[in-house]
């Protein structure tokens, strides 16, 4: 109907979401010895499915595609609504890739209580995919909370060190945010329906048409922001990070840092900016400062810690800071850079954690930098892969990360010059601690307990594919950019364009939406260039950019 020019796929997105869980349950019925291998092999299915969706994705169409929409709880207006758009398309693919790789890595090792372990991994994949694809606020919150449970068990049962303590800390920290988000999400729907006298509806598309008042928007914004900031995490909310990352089993930490944390930054783009544009603008500086503090603090911590795994962990805090910076630059390049960086960082950090495991295996199981050194001599291939990952992580020119960070900083320069200048320090810092880590582990004096050997099949199965993808992206970063561009512009337009921030004028624009995007008026912002003339005041650059690129219809 209204998605006439959206492409269609042969499958429903529901299949993509629930397939991993179903496969995990099926494999749990197999003998314990083969559970892991069977699931790792079968997990190529969701990956292939995701590739199919991405291949069918229409990059020039900024609205949700492959829409599934059923009423889930009619009395509360909650829908089981799934869709793919430019914001989540690459993240969905990333999720399936990382989970496949993690499962393969696990399958080649002896895992205790394998059925449970793979069940939780399967549930985690389903929940993460659900969170990315959900198009209903409550459904999103449900998946967002559900993601936590598998990791609670994965850390608590298969972790190391103070695992139970770490996992409870992690869950409580993140649940504090997500319960607040639950309240805020319900309040958003109820207030929006109340203000505009419509039936209760929590779908993003419907809520975008029902702006809440400025004051309501501000506290609702905070409810969502806390949840996302804890989950990312960024600095004042990072208390759980070190313990949890330290205790998590390697495959779990790879996917957690790679995609689970990205759900939060994705949430800012998909939910917070479009639904609370005024509040986003209002709190812009606060968020930028949080991002800045996060970058600087995490960089400093990555410098000082001697624990290899924590170096990666803090580097990802710094990267999440950059992503936040890009989103809240409220500029098109910044937001696009942030989205690209989510993809890049997901790949890089996951690969880095697998390499940490490989390195630790060669240094007597220790993850302390003091016990390492000189590994490269007997493991040149591993060292090469590590170097690729390190260079990507420190955003070497030529890597896709470079483009991401460049765009983020460009966006920030356009909006807040001083903050961007200070944030650039983080880029420099990353080069230092990244190289320090690489040299400390791979070169230098040979560590006391180090027994180096070349990369093994069980390690390569995870590291090599990720490095290959990193390389491909370095040559072809448009993969991430082109699909997201239209949607990103659409997502940040309300927060960026002053005309939209006044709810009066937004309400005045509402009648035009229906004629622009079909009778239901779903998922729509005015796209025709003509509408911009009717806006009171002069729209900022981004707005014209949106209309221009969509109007031409070709996109990138």
């Amino acid at each position: 109907m209204i998605f006439a020019h959206a492409s269609s796929a042969p499958f429903s997105l529901s299949i993509l979401i629930w397939l991993p869980l179903a496969l995990a349950l099926v494999c749990a019925a197999l003998p314990a010895r083969v559970t892991g291998r069977a699931l790792a092999a079968l997990s190529l299915l969701p990956l292939a499915l995701a590739v199919t969706f991405v291949a069918n994705f229409n990059s020039s169409y900024p609205f949700p595609q492959f829409v599934t929409d059923h009423s889930w709880i009619p009395s509360l207006g909650i829908h089981y609504a799934l869709a793919m758009n430019g914001l989540n398309v690459s993240l969905v693919l990333l999720t399936t890739v990382l989970f496949t790789v993690s499962l393969a890595w696990s399958a080649l090792r002896d895992i205790e209580r394998p059925r449970l372990y793979y069940f939780w991994l399967g549930l985690a994949e389903s929940a993460v995919l659900g969170a990315f694809l959900a198009q209903d606020l409550i459904l999103f919150v449900a998946f967002f909370d559900l993601m936590l449970i598998p990791f609670y068990f994965l850390v608590g049962s298969w972790g190391s060190g103070e695992r139970v303590r770490a996992t409870i800390k992690m869950v409580i920290y993140t649940a504090v945010g997500s319960f607040l988000m639950l309240a805020a999400a319900i309040a958003t729907g109820v207030i929006a329906a109340g203000d505009h006298h419509t039936a209760l509806n929590f779908t993003f598309g419907a809520l975008e048409h029902l702006p809440v008042s400025r004051t309501d928007g501000e506290w609702l914004f905070l409810g969502f922001a806390v949840a996302f900031l804890v989950k990312m995490p960024v600095v004042p909310f990072h208390g759980w990070l070190a313990d949890a990352y330290k205790s998590m089993p390697i495959p779990a930490v790879a996917v957690f840092s790679g995609v689970v944390a990205k759900v939060a930054s994705y949430g800012f783009l998909q939910i917070v900016l479009p639904l609370f544009p005024q509040a986003s603008h209002h709190f812009q500086v606060l968020m930028l400062i949080i991002a800045l503090v996060s970058i600087l603090w995490a960089t400093a911590m990555a410098f000082t810690t001697r624990d290899v795994r924590l170096v990666i962990a803090y580097s990802s805090v710094a990267q999440m800071g950059f992503i936040l910076l890009g989103i809240f630059s409220l500029q098109a390049p910044g937001a696009q850079g942030a989205l690209l960086q989510m993809l890049n960082h997901g790949l890089v950090t996951a690969a880095a954690f697998f390499i940490v495991a490989a390195v630790a295996a060669r240094s007597g199981g220790s993850e302390r930098m003091d016990d390492m050194g000189g590994i490269a001599f007997r493991a040149p291939l591993l060292a090469t892969l590590f170097l690729i990952v390190t260079l990507a992580n420190l955003a070497m020119p030529g890597s896709s990360n470079f483009i991401g960070e460049f765009m983020i900083l460009l966006g920030t320069f356009q909006s807040h010059l001083a903050i961007a200048l200070i944030a650039s320090l983080g880029v420099v810092g990353a080069a230092f601690y990244g190289l320090r880590l690489f040299i400390g582990a791979m070169h230098n004096r040979v560590g006391g307990r180090v027994q180096s050997f070349e990369i093994k099949r069980s390690e390569a199965i995870a590291i090599v594919p990720l490095c290959l993808i990193i390389l491909v992206l370095a040559f072809y970063p448009q993969f991430g950019l082109s699909r997201s561009q239209a949607s990103v512009n659409l997502a940040i337009a309300p927060a960026t364009t002053s005309a939209f921030r006044g709810s009066q004028s937004a309400a005045a624009l509402l009648p035009t939406f229906a004629s622009l995007d079909g009778p239901a008026g779903w998922w729509a912002y005015p796209l025709l260039a003509g509408v911009s003339h009717s806006l009171p005041g002069k729209p900022r650059r981004i707005y014209t950019y949106t209309t221009a690129s969509s109007g031409s219809g070709s996109g990138q």
């Binding site: 059925r115 559900l146 649940a175 309240a183």
Partner: protein, 545 residues
């Protein structure tokens, strides 16, 4: 009172007394329970031990099943006020009846092999339980101050005795005595409050009281100190029964001391009945006074949520933990009552149903734990995931549901409560609820951690039963990831998906734990049927928006 038709003719010795019309169809849920209780009591006198041990519980189940049948039969009929205005059988009452009856079924099953019925006498034990259930049915359908009070007493007095049923155990006797004394204080407070309300309005029928309060002449009563005092005392009286803070202090002690089957029954059925009568009395009878009682109840609800959740944090006994958790959950349910809308009533009843499903599974596991290890210490759960996966999963699901994790009925319940709160203009109460839910993770997750995240230790059982060491921190066990290889070998030898088919434990416990654990998930994913079910409750209370 002066509407009595025979006021002047009583002197005639030949005056013919017309008894009130009794519509047996509507009365049947209550009557079936009363008859059942008497039959069970008599059969319990049989000399054959087989008859006593098997027939009596079976007959009890039959009686409850009969009650459930009649309740379903009367469900969604037009509400009727019967027996001279004593009772009103409407969907709110029937839903609460059904919840209580399901709890009673589970309690009978949990008590099947327990010590309590053997010690108290099968007939007496089960007939007291049926009487208590009948008291709940009377209470939730009461339409008159006097019926209300008698229903409450009929509910409570059997429970006082049942708590002390394991007569030889000190804790049980203590629980019974404590419950008796504190319950009596609650009843006395309640009856005083009811008397003041009667004094202020001159009516005993709920409808008549509501009419007086809503009418023009009753407008002067809105700020009437006598009425307000009466309402305050009634709140206190109900709060004792529903274990609302600060009147909750008996709860953990009584829950811990009472036989676990009775604890399960008290925790779910009594709470459901108390909340239902709370709803009827405040959202129907006193709805005109909403502006006066709502702030008080909102304050009570927030105190309850915080006190219950914080209190549970330090507990090492599962029954005490569930006691405090029950206090907190009572606070959640009260919030739905505070808003005084149909939405709020439905949300509260939804949560009552959810609370029933979440708790019964957990109590079944506790009964199993007590039979295996003689203790309900959290530390004794260590390795349950391997010993008895079905029970471990049930308890895990129950805990996650109580914490409000998505995919379980607890999440939907909280969503609906928050929805009704925001909709009714009590956004701050929603925040309190959310804060409470956050705190609650601190103890629910510890239980789950105790199940799955400690290595199965052969000594675990013995240690837990041996007393002083039972409280030893679980962290003292060596943190071996995933537990011992031997245990895994055993687990894999058992074979099958997640080891679920390795059923250990008494079949009736497995049944209760499995059914209620599964229902928590099923209704968490497909909440539609429950929604439609409880929507009737909101519609039953006329006069709400």
């Amino acid at each position: 009172m002066n509407a009595h038709p025979y006021a002047m003719s009583f002197l005639l010795a030949t005056a013919h007394i017309h008894g009130p019309h009794i519509s047996w169809a509507e009365l049947s849920p209550i009557a079936v329970l009363g008859v059942g209780a008497l039959v069970v009591l008599l059969v319990g006198l049989a000399s054959s031990q087989m008859v006593r041990a098997r027939l009596v519980p079976t007959l009890t189940l039959v009686a409850i099943a009969g009650a459930i049948g009649t309740e379903i039969w009367r469900f969604s009929h037009a509400p009727q006020t019967i027996v001279a205005g004593a009772l009103r059988i409407d969907d709110l009452a029937l839903i609460a009846d059904l919840v209580c009856a399901v709890a009673a079924v589970a309690a009978v099953l949990l008590a099947w092999r327990a010590r309590a019925p053997r010690e108290a006498g099968q007939g007496e034990f089960h007939s007291l339980m049926l009487f208590s259930l009948m008291g709940m049915a009377v209470l939730v359908s009461a339409q008159d101050l006097i019926t209300l009070f008698l229903g409450l007493e009929l509910l409570s007095i059997p429970l006082y005795v049942l708590c002390a049923a394991e007569y030889r155990r000190e804790g049980s006797l203590e629980a019974g005595l404590k419950y008796l004394i504190i319950g009596s204080v609650g009843s006395a407070t309640l009856v005083y409050g009811l008397a003041l309300i009667y004094g202020a309005t001159g009516q005993t029928g709920f409808g008549a009281v509501a009419h007086v309060l809503a009418s023009q002449s009753g407008g002067g009563l809105l700020g009437d100190p006598l009425l307000l005092t009466g309402i305050a005392l009634v709140i206190v009286g109900f709060a004792f029964k529903a274990s609302v803070a600060p009147f909750h202090q008996w709860t953990p002690d009584v829950y811990e001391g009472a036989p676990t089957a009775i604890t399960a029954f008290m925790a779910t059925a009594t709470k459901a009945a108390a909340i239902a009568v709370f709803l009827r009395f405040f959202d129907f009878t006193l709805t005109a006074e909403h502006v006066n009682w709502a702030p008080a109840l909102a304050a009570l609800a927030s105190v309850t949520i915080i006190v219950g959740n914080v209190g549970a944090l330090g507990q090492s006994s599962l029954k005490r933990l569930l006691g405090y958790s029950g206090v907190a959950q009572a606070g959640y349910m009260l919030t739905g009552l505070v808003v005084g809308t149909r939405l709020g009533v439905s949300a509260t009843m939804f949560y009552v149903v959810a609370y029933l499903l979440m708790n019964l599974g957990a109590f079944a596991v506790i009964v199993h734990q007590e039979r295996v290890s003689g203790s309900d210490r959290m530390a004794a759960l260590s390795g349950l995931g391997r010993r008895s996966p079905l029970l471990a999963w049930s308890l895990t699901i129950a805990m996650l549901a109580l914490a409000g994790i998505p995919g379980t009925i607890g999440f939907i319940g909280k969503v609906q409560l928050i929805h009704s709160l925001v909709n009714g203009g009590y956004g701050w109460l929603a925040i309190v609820l959310v804060v409470g839910a956050m705190i609650s993770l601190g103890y629910y997750l510890r239980v789950v951690a105790a199940i799955w995240m400690t290595p199965a230790d052969a000594r675990g059982v013995a240690v837990a039963g041996a007393g002083p060491l039972a409280g030893a921190p679980v962290a003292a066990f060596p943190p071996i990831a995933g537990g011992s290889p031997e245990a895994d070998l055993q687990a894999s030898a058992g074979g099958g998906a997640l080891g679920v088919e390795r059923l250990t434990g008494d079949p009736e416990l497995l049944l209760v734990a499995g059914v209620f654990g599964a229902l928590c998930i099923v209704f968490g994913v497909i909440p539609g049927p429950v929604f439609e079910f409880v929507a009737h409750a909101g519609a039953a209370l006329v006069g709400l928006r």
